[in-house]
Amino acid sequence: MATRAPEMAIGAPALTPERPVTWPKRTRARLSNGLQVVLAEAHSIPKFHGELFFRAGEALVSDRSVGLAEMTSTVLRTGTTKRTSRQIEEDLRRLGADLGASAGQDTSAISFAGLSEFAEPLLQLVNELSRQASFPESEFERERRQKLEEVKLERTSPGFLAGERLRKVLFGAHPYARVSPSEEQVAAYRREDLESVYREIYTPENALLVLVGDFEPQAMLKIAEKIFGDWEGKKPAAKEAPAPPQLRGRRVYLVHNPGSVQTQILAGCHAITRKHPEWIRLGLANSLYGGAFNSRLVMNIREDKGYTYSPRSGVTPLLQHGYFSVSAAVRNDVVAASLTEIFYELDKLRSLPVPAAELADAQNYLTGVFSMGLATQEGLLAQFSTAELHELPEDYLETYRDKVRALTSTDLISTARKYFDSANLQIVVVGDRAQIEEQAGLFGEVEAYDNQGKRISA
């Protein structure tokens, strides 16, 4: 609870009438092989940004081994039937281009940006990586050894350890619980495993190509058809995943990180996907709680109490399930005090109506920040991609601001009661056990783990 009443600003000029927010027109098309394409013009710089998404990632294949989809994306840029790894990297530089390949739980993607004058050769390279990656043995072996060092290293990062534990707790037997491979799993990766993931996931019927930038859409669409049109392949069969556990009551999961001079708190509960009709109101509730600099949690535990530098909350919208979480890296001696405030602010939103002025401020914030994405090619690409991948209504971008503005204090209290499930919040703390266990234990029964993920006894 804030100890000091906020004062008001004196004489701040009023906002002048708003300028219209107009999203660029999208050209949506399907190539002859089923590949879905979304294009939009944006002439801010003589470049373009693009991303070729495949609608499957770790969750589809992690029952074979954890991290296979990510490893596949890492190795696919190291060689095709036509180019060596070195040629690929030098060709990118020659085209003034950047390229990244990655995989998450729900998608695998090749993202790229380059000069408009070289759009066609860049798309040809993307096409080659998507269809003719050769997974050279020596490149695979190097990347596997790299990955071994990386998985050791990530276990020294408090943020990673907290995120991994929360996922395991929230998702149980569901694939979303599998965040990162063990050393043994990486050691057992085989080149053939990557090739089969590649054949299954990287197909045109499973793909979405989004292009934004300095080009003429119809001309670009013709280029896309010319380059990608003769590619064939079906999408992989969908897989049933076990339901995540229903978690009742608060529990504390302590990850012991010896020598920690700070404690990483991460607490969360199940929520909803982006497609859910209540997504927008949950977004507004989150922005009031801890999703903005001006939010209640930041004002409380940072600006009033100085417990932490960067508290925040958010909703992670995975495709099958979304979850709400709140995080803060706090001083070791205020772990209990911080958790108290984290719960206080959640429960306050669940109990008391949000004052009208505060609601209007939060609505302005969300609607204003939403249109910032208009100003850059990257921002537009992100918005268009999200709308497509999450299968949002076609007018989602155009109607979002009105939907935010229509929300009332009553909507918010019911949203908070539904999704800020404070009684069943699962609490992860990463830090030095001796310094924090007693404090954390005030909030629920403690299960302790070492930084390798093994349960350790009381």
Partner: protein, 424 residues
């Protein structure tokens, strides 16, 4: 006529306006005995001014639909907002209010000192390789306190900072004649200028701020330092070479040489150490913020290597990469590629620079630095040519002249042994 410079860069891409105020003071020239003060002070600038008390700065921007932040760099400190363009006047009012009359108290100072300590813990003290190499390198590489001290601040120095220090720093450096105001995006230039005059015009000029000389005594020997890595599992090395004076022909060549060495996965250092010899897990780096500094600085390589290779073996492989450039130079083909990539990167810098939600950050940053360091914001239109005119000969010449042991410093960051950790 208070000496505040104003730069307006209009465009009609989106109904969004970016406002920045840059002050020509960073952590390099903060007061001795007050390490970390410039950054702590930056936090204080969000703690209230005469007409906008604590929490109002953040609230006024967020509730206008915008975002805000600030950052402390070597030679400048910036404060910036991106807002829907209907909030332009409000933002200018707010920035002018804190330039004119910062109003903070002891409670604010204690609060932000605590916040800054947690910032240092989350970014440095509680992270694997925290502060490597940006905090580890300066005390090894430099002899002038300005360049060599702990920029985030020793906790004892942060504790010693008083409200009187805050007021003095504000009066000395945060004067309009030591600043530039930038307005970019959806703004009509005459209207932007009129609003700037209305809100900033009445602020009185201050005395010209004193600036300590950041020059370094000549370096005649390779310098080495060692730092313990508390969490990470891999040994790490940082290698920094002092750069030529900015905007000289040597500097343009050095920046492109930096791209030849560190330009992503095609860069020679990553290719050789990570891809070919497979000694390193990470090998990257380069000149950080090429346009944003105005004093001694380095091109720094950061290597995390596999434990089965010694530091000296790793260093030998690194040196071999440099020797090759010194002896053979780079091909015309490679130089042409570097120039295309540099041009492409430059466009992206202008458009964004801090993600999709801080539009025009890069353009703002370049305009501000060219104004404060060179009094020539128009350089943003012409500086690219300097890089595109670099020749192969110039690259080989700077490689020989600057990539010498007597011009470098090394930091070895070595994991404490498992046994030592158990005992501790």
């Amino acid at each position: 006529m208070n000496g505040l410079r104003v730069v307006i860069a209009p465009d009609t891409i989106a109904p969004v306006v970016t406002v920045g105020v840059y002050y020509k003071i960073g952590f390099r020239l903060e007061p001795q005995g007050r390490s970390g003060f410039a950054h702590l002070f930056e936090h204080m600038m969000f703690q209230g001014s005469e007409n906008a008390p604590k929490m109002q700065h953040i609230k006024l921007i967020n509730s206008s639909g915008g975002v805000l932040n600030g950052s402390t760099m070597y030679d400048v400190t910036n404060y910036y907002e991106a807002v829907p363009s209907n909030a332009l006047e409000r933002v200018l009012w707010l920035e002018a209010d804190r330039m004119r009359a910062l109003k903070v108290d002891e409670e604010n100072l204690i609060n932000q000192r605590d916040v800054v300590k947690e910032e240092v813990r989350v970014n440095v003290l509680n992270q694997p390789y925290g502060g490597f190499p940006w905090l580890d390198m300066p005390p090894v590489a430099f002899r002038n306190w300005a360049n060599a001290h702990n920029f985030y601040g020793d906790f004892a120095d942060l504790d010693a900072a008083s409200l009187a220090d805050v007021q003095k720093f504000f009066r000395t450096y945060y004067v309009p004649n030591n600043a530039v105001l930038l307005v970019l995006g959806d703004v009509v230039p005459q209207e932007g200028l009129a609003l700037a005059e209305k809100y900033f015009g009445p602020i009185p000029a201050g005395a010209a701020p004193p600036f300590a000389d950041p020059a370094e005594p000549p370096q005649t020997e390779e310098r080495r330092g060692h730092v313990e890595e508390k969490f990470g599992t891999l040994p790490a090395i940082a290698i920094g070479y002092v750069l030529p004076q900015r905007r000289t022909s040597e500097w343009y060549a050095m920046v492109l040489l930096d791209q030849a060495l560190h330009g992503g996965r095609a860069g020679r250092i990553h290719r050789e150490l990570v891809m070919e010899k497979q000694i390193a897990v990470e090998a990257d780096g380069g000149v950080d913020d090429v346009f944003g500094y105005n004093g001694p600085t380095q091109m720094t390589t950061r290597i995390l290597h596999k434990p089965e290779y010694s530091a000296e073996q790793t260093l030998a492989a690194f040196d071999a990469v440099l020797h090759e450039v010194q002896e053979k130079g780079i091909s015309q083909e490679e130089l042409d590629q570097l120039k295309v990539k540099w041009r492409s990167d430059y466009y992206s810098t202008l458009e964004g620079g801090r993600g999709g939600y801080m539009p025009r950050y890069g353009l703002m940053h370049l305009l501000a630095c060219f104004t404060l360091f060179d009094n020539e914001p128009e350089l943003v239109n012409t500086i690219l040519e300097g890089f595109l005119n670099v020749t192969r000969e110039e690259i080989q010449t700077v490689a020989k002249k600057y990539l010498r042991p007597e011009n470098r410093a090394l930091v070895f960051r070595t994991p404490v042994s498992k046994d030592a950790k158990e005992a501790a």
